[in-house]
Subunit: 141 residues, 2 copies
């Protein structure tokens, strides 16, 4: 059901300091940067072969990542696994009784389709499913 | 310097419950299981293509993962990146002034060589470097 790790999401307070570490010292290549108002974050993707590190800076305190920072401080926020067909994967997990944050997939960054499982159902690990853009070529309505 | 994500390490209180989730519901294949007395953990590796999920159950409260669980509860404990030459990678980071937990690489599970960077130097993200077994064929003394 699950393919590779798509990315780990890291909550940061200071994006410039984080980029100095990941891009500067660790020499990871930045491939994407976007402000996602709807999710209340500025996100930067760094490439590690087919995997990514996603740095997440909250746009305010009353956002999911802002509340995470206030509660736990900076650190690893979530892990995302690739799935070839997110509709099928999410439906199978829901049918097995798994609690999810997203009832249906929504659009993530770079045209991917994503859905979060609920940490209460995953041992407190915020877990995201990602169907990369172009992975699923059937028409969508 | 860094290759793919080798694994994410997840701290768990109940290994059987975690395996029911990752092996059972998520259908990840278990590839390795080892009690590492020296590090105070029982570790299980699950495969996701070339990436892995590493479940970590502490052998007692006075172990690094036991203290993590007491302080933060279950969840993502660390991220590990593959490097082709851990001696060179660790030396370069130390020369750049980065604080590390391990001054020199040590043996990890499955014959890998590993070293941890200090979370104080990495935005509170416990970060591991992994040179997989066989990745570096020069003689070692």
């Amino acid at each position: 059901m699950f393919g590779r790790i798509d990315h780990i999401g890291i909550a940061v307070e200071d994006l410039d300091a984080a980029l100095a570490l990941y891009e500067g010292r660790f020499a990871m290549a930045q491939s994407y940067r976007e402000v996602v108002e709807e999710q209340g974050v500025e996100a930067v993707l760094l490439d590690l072969g087919e995997n990514h590190v996603e740095l997440l800076r909250p746009l305010g305190e009353e956002t999911p990542v802002g509340r995470f920072l206030a509660r736990k401080g900076p650190g690893i926020h979530h892990v995302a696994y690739q799935v070839p067909d997110i509709d099928a994967a999410l439906a199978a997990l829901q049918e097995a009784g798994m609690r999810t944050i997203d009832e249906r997939p929504r659009i993530g960054i770079r045209g991917s389709r994503v859905a979060f499982l609920h940490p209460a159902a995953t041992g407190a690990v915020l877990t995201e499913l990602v169907e990369p853009a172009g992975a699923h070529d059937e028409p969508r309505r």
